[in-house]
Amino acid sequence: MGRLTDGVLKRLLLAAATLMVFVAGAAAETTVKWLHIEANPAQVKIWEEVARAYEAAHPGVKIEMQFLENEAYKAKLPTILQSKDRPHIIYSWAGGVLRAQVEAGVLEDLTDQVKGYSDTITPAALAAFTQNGRIYGLPVALSQVGFLYNKELMAKANVDPGKIKTWDDLLSAVKALKAAGVTPIVAGGADKWPLHFYWTHLAVRIGGKASFDAALRGENGGFEGETFQKAGVLFKQLVDLQPFQNGFLGLKNPQAVGYFGDGKGAMMLAISTVYHLQRALAADKVGLGEDKIGWFDFPVVSGGKGEPTDTLGGITGWLVTKGAPKQATDFLKFFISKDVQTRLAAGNFLIPVVRGGEAGLNNAFMKQIADNLAKSNYHQNFYDQSLGPSVGRVVNDVTAEIAGGSMTPQQAATAIQLAFKQGN
């Protein structure tokens, strides 16, 4: 009987082992699909290294990256989310668009999966990705919108960027630059969202947080109210000076950034990440070196209720779509970790959200931005994202129309309020 059970036992063990290998093998090959919009190859390279490191530490998991350009991404995202083959990790600027996505039920609730881990992230950033107390994504970077300037061109026109404190100062600077034969401002008007920064930041300066909150509640005429009308009027003042480069309405943002990096314009109102991005997109792939580029914050508006410390910018991050494998969230936690964030901060690619990540910032510029953001009590998210997918795009449309001269500030404000009332 002993020999019989021995043989049977051996066979059983063999079968069990084979079965386990099968089951384990079947469960092991998971692909995590990651859709991103990062146009800076230097940063993408680091991301790829992180992905490979994760794959090495977790055999059986493959991270597949897919790229879509910023504007194309925004346009395609609604259809992408409808597909059952949708990517597992998608880029997000939070705001109303995130809210709409949560309501549509296309995102995975990560609250339980990130318990404990979420304490490593600065609360303000995490809050942006929380809806109704549940966490739907993880923030990865903070950014601020302000003026990047080309030191040489500014000097050529004898304009001191340090002295540009008020909106009127900016207008004078533009006039001086034009008189010196320099293109004052570069903008990617074809994508529209680069233009809406002007209008939005003016609104932030004129009315501050109180105004925006009131408009959301529908008070004071909502987005037709005084603050927003004035923002349009002031923006028009700038537009009337014809400060932008020739054909700006036909230039997409990547092209505009490259244009600025080529040294063809004095200023650009852009997200702080452009500081680095312009190097990759310039024609010579070198762009403006650290000593040639500078930054000044968006000017204040005299009589405005906004604080000078108020900032406009993004809290960007990644979302996980519903039905994604657990490994997707796991990878995100790996990606948004102190090590990786410090590394990316050291490369001056982003302002980190993980506590302690700022230690990696070794560049005066980045430190300044981080400082600005830390001091700010009111960080307004990009309007075209915070107001939701449809209203946001209307904001982009109308600011582009003011810039093109086909809409008055009054009409623009009315259009936004109308879209806001129509909802969705």
Partner: protein, 311 residues
Amino acid sequence: MRGRIETASMASPESPSWLSARRPAGDGRLTVLVLFLPPALLLFTLFVVLPIGEAAWYSGFNWNGFGRPTNWIGFDNYRFVLESRAFWLALRNNGLIIVVSLLIQLPLALALALVLAERFRGVVALRMLFFLPYILAEIATGLIFSFVYDGDYGLVASVWRWFGAEAPHLLASTQTAMVAVVIVVVWKYFGFHMMLYIAALQGMDRSLIEAARIDGATRPQVLRYVVIPSLYPTIRLSVFFAIIGSLQLFDLVMPLTRGGPADSSNTLVTFLYNNGISRMRVGFGSAIGVILFLICVTFAFSYKRWFMRDE
């Protein structure tokens, strides 16, 4: 009565089975009906007819495409469409394309056809050359011309600079964007109409021309009173295609301008895409679709009624 079967003209080499086998009663008529017709009807109903009905249904809702539509708003979407500046611009642009097609493109095609309907060395090559733009994808054509029109690297810019002036950014100006688009439309489609006319000219009854010549008509007179009138049916067809084609314009516009700047080069379909699909405003987009459908159908019906003989 046995009919003679022309086996000689048939392609099948060996004797088909039906010649030899004895078939039971029933010629398979029912089988054909049941087997051959439903696939087409099913596909057609499912993907052509139902969607239009659904478009009408969805147009009554404010819906972002997820789940099922729940927010009924009646005709509000139509009101929004009619109140939207972009819609009227799109309508104007479609109209502009039609007018330019009829007044410039078709006469151009006709003139070319008259020249190329003859026989001479290289005429076939020329015809093929002019037809080539038609078979290229609209999207590729749009991209090629976005290069041609580019303010920095483009051909137009280069020519301008040669004359010493600063190159214009044609696609970035609300005044010139649509004009630029229209030129591309002409470039792409004139060859198609030209081939239609050439086919018609080649099939024309020569004796009419001879008769006119004998009567002493000059060449211009022959052209005006004999040739062109005989082309009326083809011209009518050409006009029909030009108009239907203009209403559908999308692929060409997207790479050039995406409908911008400031909606100045929007067409009805780009307007539909930018609002309905990009922003997933399904109700709004469906309303645009329904309006476009009504335009197409009205046009097709009135055209058939007034100009074309029924089949």
